[in-house]
Amino acid sequence: MRKDKQVDQFLKAHKQQIDGEEFNRKTIERLNYYHPIEAKKKRGTKWIVNLFAFICIAIFVLSGGAKTIFDAAMVVFSDPRTIHSIANYASIFAMLALITGGIIYIEEMAK
């Protein structure tokens, strides 16, 4: 966005120079009484995330989702010629997404 010349000139002409010696001294003196607060770890929400992740994985495994993906992947990897079926493609993508999601999840938890 372009600056308007007239407004810019007016405001720049009135731009104040502020002496900071006294202010700096007082502020730095005040800093001696304070300490940076350490970042709080979000422990409160961590167990909820873990619990839901566990429940989701359990449901997925119990409903046979993992077995289906594993079987489809085994078919694809055992004979590359079978990579023509959409179901096989989908199983590969699902497996890669699961692995990526798992890595991201572990990294987030490690922070």
């Binding site: 007016f10 009135h14 202010f23």
Partner: protein, 167 residues
């Protein structure tokens, strides 16, 4: 960042920050310096929350902007709670402003033509040379809202300057 490094940051940033707050408060040097000092203390104590997504100076201005509007809201609340009529309070406010510097009356008069949001955004854009993205981070407004405030503020200021030239 340790205390010494933060001290250097204070020295580096105090002038633009105090100037912004001084102009935003209509020349009330005591109020603007109090808010500036509180801003630096707040920034120092919450250094761990600085994620580095913006420049540190932008983050500092964001804290100052929020501190200033907190102070404005607090004053408005106190005004509501007290039984003093608004006219009398205006006199009190004007008296406290009189204690401060009066060497930039023309600027303060021109800025008083603008709404609070317009004033903050015009000052950041023209006087402190902040980009639209930085102003958006500082104020928490959309870049398009920032642009429209700049445009409206600019035309209000131009109108004021034109009227003053004619006199």
């Amino acid at each position: 960042m340790n205390r010494i490094e933060f001290g250097d940051f204070v020295k580096q940033q105090q002038e633009p920050l105090r100037r912004f707050l001084l102009n935003l408060s209509g020349g009330n040097a005591n109020l603007s310096d109090d808010i500036a000092q509180d801003t630096f203390i707040k920034a120092y104590t919450s250094l761990s929350s600085f994620m580095g997504r913006s420049k540190m100076s932008t983050w500092l201005f964001k804290i100052a902007y929020n501190c200033f509007y907190d102070a404005v809201r607090k004053t408005a609340l106190e005004r509501q709670r007290s039984d003093i009529p608004v006219e009398e309070l205006k006199v009190i406010r004007d008296e406290s402003a009189q204690e401060s510097r009066f060497n930039n009356q023309e600027l303060y008069r021109a800025l008083s033509q603008l709404k609070q949001e317009e004033k903050a955004i015009i000052l950041l854009f023209y006087m402190e040379d902040k980009s639209i993205k930085e102003i958006s981070t500082i104020t928490g407004m959309n870049p398009s809202t920032v642009r429209s405030h700049i445009s409206r503020g600019k035309s209000h200021l131009k109108q004021y300057l034109l009227t003053n030239e004619e006199r």
